[in-house]
């Protein structure tokens, strides 16, 4: 027996209510961070905490003036786009193959780098890259960050590829398509939203990862996130600058996520294949 269907309006209102509650909890601390970036440094830890204050842009102007913020940002961008790209290029075919054959060990292997504490890699990688003179190069940074992005791409795409019914592939095989062709022509368009999510996540993880950059970069290639740490130190804890730097650092991933939103919403999947 089916129960009386709840009316659509009630459902919608309920959903909106939950949305607002979730939004508040999620965004209130972020709002705190952004607001704090417009307060003078000592006011960030003032008590009682103030919501109303006269804003100042001194944190931002100081930041741009005293640190080579822009060049750090460019470094971060190069490393992040490079490693996310590498992760996608290697990861998409691998995820497809793992999904098709149901042989998981390649996927588990790539995750191995994420199973060990990051500090395990610091000394060996430093020694390795030093041997080939690549310390401080973008190459070393991109390669090390790709170790992070590759498993993310593979594991995000696995369920997406798994969702495609085998019958689709079998039909294409009967037509004489090679495996690679099936990947690029048929499977890929069907996992659009998966690729979007994978790309966003690869970007964010690489962008925020500081441990490898700490050891493998030099003054010229230092990434933005390594600079964010610099505002907390004995005798020089600069809360305002830290919050300003944090806001600026969080912007590019946010912008990227906003831009690719519509693919996430519309979803390049579906189509007439299923059913």
């Amino acid at each position: 027996m089916t129960s009386m269907p709840v009316s659509d309006t009630v459902l919608r209102r309920l959903n909106t209510l939950q949305l607002v509650a979730a939004g508040f909890i999620i965004m209130a601390p972020v709002a705190w961070m952004v607001l704090s970036s417009f307060k003078p440094s000592f006011a960030v830890t003032a008590y009682p905490p103030t919501l109303i204050f006269s804003p100042t842009t001194e944190n931002y102007s100081n930041l741009i003036k005293t640190t080579p913020f822009f060049s750090y940002a460019v470094n971060s961008l190069i490393v992040t786009i490079g490693s996310a790209g590498l992760g996608l290029i290697f990861g998409i075919p691998a995820a497809f193959a793992v999904s098709w054959t149901r042989i998981s060990w390649p996927a588990v292997l790539t995750l191995a780098a994420r199973m060990a504490p990051g500090t395990l890699f610091l000394l060996p990688w430093y020694v390795m890259f030093r041997q080939v003179g690549l310390i401080g190069s973008y190459t070393a940074l991109i390669l090390s960050h790709a170790v992070i992005t590759l498993p993310i791409v593979i594991w995000i795409l696995l369920p997406s590829f798994d969702n495609i019914p085998r019958s689709v592939f079998e039909a294409a095989q009967v037509d004489g398509c090679s495996v690679t062709r099936i990947l690029w022509r048929i499977a890929l368009p069907l996992v659009g939203s998966g690729i979007v999510v994978a790309a966003i996540l690869a970007f964010v993880f690489s962008w925020n990862y500081f441990l490898f950059a700490l050891v493998l970069s030099n003054g010229d290639t230092k990434t933005l996130i390594a600079a964010a740490f610099n505002f907390v130190g004995e005798g020089s804890t600069d809360w305002g600058a830290l919050m300003a730097a944090a806001t600026l650092i969080a912007l590019p991933p946010l912008v990227l996520a906003t831009l690719v939103q519509r693919w996430l919403v519309a979803g390049l999947t579906l189509g007439a294949v299923k059913g």
């Binding site: 961070m33 290697f90 075919p93 191995a112 994420r114 369920p159 798994d162 925020n208 969080a250 996520a257």
Partner: protein, 303 residues
């Protein structure tokens, strides 16, 4: 009589095609495998070798075989660290999965939400962990933080939050969940997008309530995505480091001393690289075990 579907009897042409297919599939995953092996082989081998050495505080090095591992088993700090790691892991995982799925559903049904607002919803994990840690350190400060200010304004008792030996683990779990629930939601949202609408249409025709739809249809279909999110969060949660490093450094006492924090301090502050390597490898083995277990699950729930 030859039955075409019988796997035991294959025509030569088909065999050739299948072999070629297998080769192609292997070639597709080769770059990822070779890259990973190339990057992590030396570090892993080197760390294993280090774990068989002992480094005294004066820097003298000697081979001790499995000595470090024997010490590990009798080390109270290790077992305590294991307990802290597991408690934090389970608490955080449950919170993030439950609320992550909930948030994904809420966002999924809010079809008319603008792109900017939607990305703000998933913004917390885009913040660098060091910044999140510093931020919550101030907000949760028992004396000058906004959290206790709000609690006391509402007439509720203030809490020590990160400074309380009993509440530090739940507090850290809450901070981490605030940051990473949107991440889980994003993954599940991607999964929701790829669900075939024909199934929903069928359910609606039958007049099923939204709750029943979720329970009977959506949830089982979402299981592969949820397992993925579980695997991805598990590898990070079991190696919990950043927030604790910024806020409590393993304290109060060692109430928040996860295995990763412990191993880090042993290696980088106490210079006991041999023992630190043994600790790190043990942690890696634990995470590996968890991944294997969840991978089985993934294969079980795949459609």
């Amino acid at each position: 009589m030859v039955a075409l579907e019988s796997p035991a009897i294959r025509k030569p042409a088909e065999t050739f095609g299948q072999d070629r297919q297998r080769l192609e599939l292997a070639a597709l995953s080769a770059p990822a495998v070779l890259f990973t092996v190339g990057m992590i082989a030396f570090p892993v081998i080197y760390t294993v070798w280090l774990s068989f050495q002992s480094f005294s505080s004066t820097g003298k090095q000697s081979f001790v075989g499995l000595g470090n591992y024997a010490h590990l088993i009798s080390d109270n700090e290790f077992w305590h660290g294991l307990w802290v790691t597991l408690a934090l892991y389970l608490l955080s995982l449950v919170l993030q999965l439950v609320f992550g799925v909930w948030l994904a559903l809420v966002l999924f049904h809010a079809k008319r939400l603008s792109g900017i607002v939607r990305s703000l919803f998933i913004s917390p994990f885009m913040m660098p962990p060091v910044v999140a840690g510093m931020m919550w350190l101030v907000i949760l400060d028992p004396s000058i933080g906004a959290a206790n200010y709000i609690l006391t304004s509402l007439g509720l008792p203030p809490s020590d939050w990160l400074a309380s030996p009993t509440f530090v683990i739940p507090t850290v779990a809450l901070i981490d969940s605030w940051q990473w629930t949107p991440y889980v939601a994003l993954i599940v949202l991607g999964g929701l997008q790829s669900l075939p609408p024909s199934v929903y249409e069928a359910a609606q025709i039958d007049g099923a309530s939204p709750f029943k739809t979720f329970q009977r249809i959506t949830l089982p279909l979402l299981l592969p995505t949820i397992v993925t999110a579980t695997i991805l969060r598990s590898v990070d949660l079991l190696r919990f480091f950043d927030i604790i490093y910024i806020t409590t450094q393993g304290g109060p006492g060692n109430a928040s001393n996860t295995l990763n924090i412990y191993g880090f301090r042993v290696g980088f502050e106490f210079f006991n690289i041999g023992y630190a390597s043994a600790l790190m490898l043990t942690l890696t083995a634990i995470v590996f075990g968890a991944v294997l277990a969840f991978n089985r699950l993934r294969n079980a729930v795949a459609w």
